[in-house]
C-alpha cells in the first residue's frame, strides 16, 4: 500500500476544510432562516469522512445518510449546487427536490444520501453487485452511523456481500451517539467485531480524527474490495461537535461539556494542518492561502444559492418516471 503523495495530502486538507466551512455556513443559514427544513452537520467528523471517501476513485460509488453534506463534498462534488440544493433552488444538485437530507451527485458517483436511517446500505450493496456482474472494477462505499448499525438491513447486506464477495465497504461513522442515545446503551458488543460473524473483514479505527489513520484503513478495505477480496466493515470512532441537527435544543444534557472540549482539542483539521507544516508538505503561508481559497469557494457557493431561482411549480411533477404517465 502506498502512502498518499503531497498533492493528495493537501487535497485531504482542502476537502476537510470545505466540509467544515460549508457546514458552518449552512448552520448560520439555518439560524438566519435561509435554509428551510433540517440540516445535520459533519463538523468534527471531517477526517473520518474525507479519509474514507478519498480512497475511492472518481468512478467509484458511494451512498450516505442524513449527515449528508460531507459525503459528496469529500467525493469531489462542487459546492455551489450542493448549497443551492440546501436552499431549495433550481440550481441545486437535485433541482431542489432533494434538500439537505437527500443530496446526490451522480457525476462523482454519489448515489444518494438517505433520510431513512440505514436505508441506503442495500443500495450501495447493489451498486457493488453491478460492478461484480459487469466486471468493471468499481468499488462502492456505504456511509452510515452507529445508530444505523442496529438496523437489520445492514446484516442482510453484510451477509449478501460476504457470500457474493461484493466490492463494498460498509463504513460506520461511530460518533458515539444516535441523536440523544449513547451508542453503548443500545449496542451489544463492538460494531466492527460483528464482521466476524459474516466471515468478512472488520476493523475499528480508534482515532477517527486522524485523517491518515482513517485513510490507511479505508484504503486497505477498498483495495481488498477491488481485488476480489470481498467486503469490509470499517468502524471509525469520531465525534460531532454540533447538536444532532441545527436548531435542535434537547431538554436534557445527554453529552457533557468536558467531553466535547476534549474532542475539540483533538480537532482533525487543526491537527492535520500542524502535521502538514511539520512534515514540510506546505508552508504556513500556503496553508493560510488554502483556508482562504476554501472560504472564497463557500462564499461563491452561497452567492450562487441566493441567485439561483426557485424551481417552477411543474417541477414538483417531474422525474417521477422517465416519461410522464399522465395525471
Amino acid at each position: 500500500m502506498t502512502s498518499p503523495d503531497q498533492t493528495t495530502l493537501l487535497e485531504m486538507q482542502r476537502r476537510m476544510l470545505r466540509i467544515r466551512r460549508f457546514d458552518e455556513r449552512a448552520s448560520k443559514m439555518v439560524k438566519r432562516g435561509q435554509i428551510p427544513g433540517t440540516v445535520h452537520t459533519s463538523i468534527g467528523q471531517e477526517a473520518q469522512v474525507v479519509g474514507a471517501a478519498m480512497t475511492l476513485d472518481d468512478g467509484d460509488y458511494m451512498t450516505g445518510n442524513h449527515r449528508s453534506h460531507g459525503h459528496p463534498i469529500a467525493k469531489g462534488s462542487p459546492l455551489a449546487p450542493l448549497m443551492a440544493e440546501l436552499v431549495g433552488k433550481a440550481g441545486g444538485v437535485c433541482g431542489g427536490k432533494g434538500g439537505s437530507l437527500h443530496l446526490a451527485d451522480f457525476k462523482v458517483g454519489s448515489l444518494g444520501e438517505s433520510g431513512i436511517v440505514g436505508s441506503s446500505i442495500p443500495i450501495a450493496t447493489g451498486a457493488a453487485l453491478s460492478s461484480k456482474v459487469l466486471g468493471n472494477g468499481k468499488v462502492s462505499m456505504a456511509f452510515f452511523g452507529d445508530g444505523a448499525a442496529n438496523q437489520g438491513c445492514l446484516y442482510e447486506a453484510m451477509n449478501l456481500a460476504g457470500v457474493w464477495d461484493l466490492p463494498v465497504v460498509f463504513l460506520c461513522e461511530n460518533n458515539q451517539y444516535a441523536l440523544s442515545t449513547p451508542a453503548h446503551t443500545v449496542t451489544s458488543g463492538v460494531i466492527a467485531e460483528r464482521a466476524a460473524g459474516f466471515g468478512i473483514a472488520g476493523e475499528r479505527v480508534e482515532d477517527g480524527q486522524d485523517v491518515l489513520a482513517v485513510h490507511a484503513a479505508a484504503q486497505a478495505a477498498v483495495e481488498r474490495a477491488r481485488s476480489g477480496g470481498g467486503p469490509t466493515l470499517l468502524e471509525v470512532v469520531t465525534y460531532r461537535y454540533n447538536e444532532h441537527s441545527e436548531g435542535l435544543r434537547l431538554g436534557t444534557d445527554y453529552r457533557n461539556a468536558e467531553e466535547k472540549e476534549t474532542w475539540v482539542g483533538r480537532d482533525p483539521i487543526a491537527q492535520f494542518r500542524r502535521h502538514l507544516a511539520q512534515e514540510g508538505v506546505a508552508t504556513e503561508e500556503e496553508l493560510d492561502a488554502l483556508e482562504q481559497e476554501v472560504l472564497d469557494e463557500v462564499e461563491q457557493a452561497f452567492e450562487f444559492s441566493q441567485e439561483s431561482p426557485y424551481p417552477e411549480p411543474e417541477v414538483a411533477f417531474a422525474d417521477l418516471y422517465t416519461e410522464p404517465i399522465g395525471a
Partner: protein, 356 residues
C-alpha cells in the same frame, strides 16, 4: 401471425428468457431461482432439461439469494441505478412487506428526490397465491398499497399473452415495475404470438365488447367476469369486460369511454375493499363520468377480512362469476334471471357481497 399455446407461467418464463437473451445487463435474482422452483427460470425440473436458465446464462446472471427481502430489493435498486437491469423474483406477493422501506423510500423515490439523476430499470415479480388454501400469510393481493406510492409502475396481467408482452415491456422500461401474478392463473392456457412482441403499459384490453354495462376486472376477476358475461348474454344483458392490465399507469380513458357508452359500471377486484384498485377506478368514474351513470357503481371485491385457511370459507371471498353476475344484475336492474353456477358450488350466503 403464427401463434403457439402457452400457459400463463410458461409465458412469463418465455419473456424472461427472451429478455435475458436480448440484453446482457438483464440478471435474475431471487430465492430458489437456480433450481427453477417457481417454474419461470428453466425448462423443467432438471438442470439437464432444455432451457435451464443456469445452464443458459450462468451463475453470474442467475443468482440465488439468501432469504433477505430487504437487501434483495435494495440491492436490485442499487444495481439498476448503476447499469444492470435486474428481474427480481420475490416469489410470494406477501413477502414484499419485508422490503417495504426499500420499495417506498428507495425504489420509488430515488429518481424523483435526486432530480432525475437516477434511472431504475428493475422489475419486481411476485405471485399472489390467493384461493389456494395458503392461509393469511401467503394469500395477499397487495397491489393497491403500491398504487398509493408514486414512482412505481404496476402490472397485473390476466392472460398468457398479456403476461409475456407486458413483462418484455417492463424489462425494457427505465422505471421500476412491480408485477403481480395471480397463481390461480398459472395453468391458464392461451394463444401467444411466436415472434417477440411487447404490450405497452397504460393500454387496457377490452376482453369482451358489450353495450349495457362495463365490468372492469383485475387478475382472476377477468376470467370470472367473462364467464358471468356469457351467462348474462343468454338473458339479453350485453356486458363489456375491460382488463386494465396495468394499474399504474391506468388507462382511465378506455374505462371512461366504455362507461360513457354503457352508463353502468361494476369493478371486480380481488384486493381488499377499502382503498382497493376498485375504489380508485370507481372514484375516477364518478369524478369524470358522473353524468353518464344510470345506476350506482358496484364494487365486487374481497371483503375487509383476513384470508382464512379453510377452502370452504376462503374461496367465496374473492370476486367470482356469481358475485360479479349479481352485481351486474343490480346495476342493470335485471332481477330474477338465472344465476350462473358457482365454480365451487358454495352457498350464496358466503359470497363477496355478503360481508361488507
Amino acid at each position: 401471425m403464427a401463434t403457439t399455446t402457452m400457459s400463463f407461467l410458461g409465458a412469463i418464463g418465455a419473456a424472461q428468457r427472451e429478455a435475458m437473451e436480448a440484453d446482457e445487463r438483464v440478471v435474475i435474482i431471487g430465492e430458489d431461482v437456480e433450481a427453477n422452483v417457481y417454474g419461470t427460470t428453466g425448462g423443467g425440473k432438471s438442470r439437464k432439461d432444455k432451457g435451464d436458465f443456469l445452464e443458459l446464462f450462468g451463475a453470474n446472471r442467475i443468482r440465488n439469494t439468501p432469504i433477505s427481502e430487504e437487501v434483495i430489493v435494495g440491492a436490485a435498486a442499487g444495481a439498476a441505478m448503476t447499469g444492470l437491469r435486474p428481474i427480481v423474483d420475490l416469489s410470494y406477493s406477501s413477502f414484499l412487506y419485508m422490503a417495504m422501506d426499500q420499495f417506498v423510500n428507495q425504489v420509488a423515490k430515488n429518481r424523483y428526490m435526486f432530480g432525475g439523476q437516477a434511472s431504475l430499470p428493475v422489475v419486481f415479480r411476485s405471485a399472489m397465491f390467493y384461493g389456494l388454501s395458503t392461509g393469511a400469510h401467503h394469500s395477499d393481493r397487495p397491489y393497491p398499497m403500491f398504487m398509493n406510492v408514486p414512482g412505481l409502475k404496476i402490472m397485473v396481467p390476466s392472460t398468457p399473452a398479456d403476461a409475456k408482452g407486458l413483462l418484455r415491456t417492463a424489462v425494457d422500461m427505465d422505471d421500476p415495475v412491480l408485477t403481480f401474478e395471480a397463481c390461480m392463473l398459472w395453468g391458464l392456457k392461451g394463444e401467444v404470438e411466436e415472434d417477440e412482441y411487447r404490450i405497452p403499459f397504460g393500454q387496457a384490453a377490452i376482453a369482451r365488447e358489450g353495450t349495457d354495462v362495463t365490468v372492469v376486472a383485475i387478475a382472476t376477476a377477468v376470467p370470472e367476469a367473462l364467464k358471468a358475461a356469457e351467462t348474462l348474454a343468454e338473458d339479453g344483458v350485453s356486458v363489456e369486460v375491460i382488463d386494465p392490465r396495468t394499474l399504474v399507469p391506468l388507462d382511465s380513458r378506455t374505462i371512461l369511454e366504455s362507461v360513457a357508452k354503457t352508463g353502468r359500471l361494476v369493478v371486480a377486484d380481488p384486493a381488499h375493499r377499502t382503498c382497493s384498485a376498485a375504489a380508485e377506478i370507481a372514484a375516477i368514474v364518478v369524478e369524470e363520468a358522473f353524468d353518464s351513470l344510470k345506476a350506482p357503481i358496484a364494487r365486487v371485491t374481497t371483503p375487509d377480512t383476513q384470508i382464512p385457511f379453510s377452502p370452504a370459507i376462503e374461496k367465496p371471498l374473492y370476486p367470482n362469476r356469481e358475485s360479479i353476475g349479481e352485481a351486474i344484475r343490480r346495476v342493470t336492474g335485471e332481477r330474477g334471471a338465472s344465476v350462473p353456477e358457482s365454480p365451487q358450488g358454495i352457498d350464496d350466503e358466503l359470497s363477496t357481497q355478503a360481508h361488507r
